[in-house]
Symmetry: C2
Subunit: 113 residues, 2 copies
Amino acid sequence: MEPLELLECSSPLTREPLDGEQAAGVARVFKALGDPVRLRILSIVASHQGGEACVCDLTAAFDLSQPTISHHLKVLKEVGLLTSERRASWVYYRIVPETLAELSGLLSVPVTV
Amino acid sequence: MEPLELLECSSPLTREPLDGEQAAGVARVFKALGDPVRLRILSIVASHQGGEACVCDLTAAFDLSQPTISHHLKVLKEVGLLTSERRASWVYYRIVPETLAELSGLLSVPVTV
DNA sequence: CATCGATATCGATATATATTGATATCGATA
DNA sequence: TATCGATATCAATATATATCGATATCGATG
């Protein structure tokens, strides 16, 4: 299943009903955001210096096992919220601002109809 | 558990790490958005004439049982994404634009740091 | 090439959730 | 008040998911 691309031409949620396919694509991303650990991972990565954080930074920030953090990173990457790059022994994660921006736009409320 | 209020003073996700409590509050709302049926319900309600729709409008729009729609409406209401009002035999649902706006703001990406 | 540290994958489990049929509630009305 | 239509709640079930220990992979380094 592709990362995203489903939001490309999405209009704000309030303009017209989403069809089933659009809704399924968007829901995947929101579902990924619907976990407190993943939200914290995103905010840690985004606010980390250089806009990136390695897995070791993240495992250190939680009282959770390394496989659990790895699982959440995979979920966030699969829906297009994070990208990763390996450098030497470490893997660095970055947010994908376009995905956040698309979701933000989808939720933005028109000045009232 | 209260509807929301947890997002009141949230800064964009990218500014500083969310603490556990903030993340839990926000995650509840995103989790509610993480289902295609609920996203479609929201978009139908929001784009319906007058900005509201009754349950009968919604059950008619899905190939799902009435209890299932009622369940999803309850979830959306519990996290502060919908409000309801009973008029005669019908219950009308409306979106809570403030909640959408708060989420939108949380996901909005600064012009790059 | 053997080893070590960092990260990902696997298998198992406990919990959460989406869905439904049956039933309760609630307002309107005869 | 008996009944009817609209909606909510309940109980049960099937599926999904968060978590972890064990293990595999992968790059660096001796």
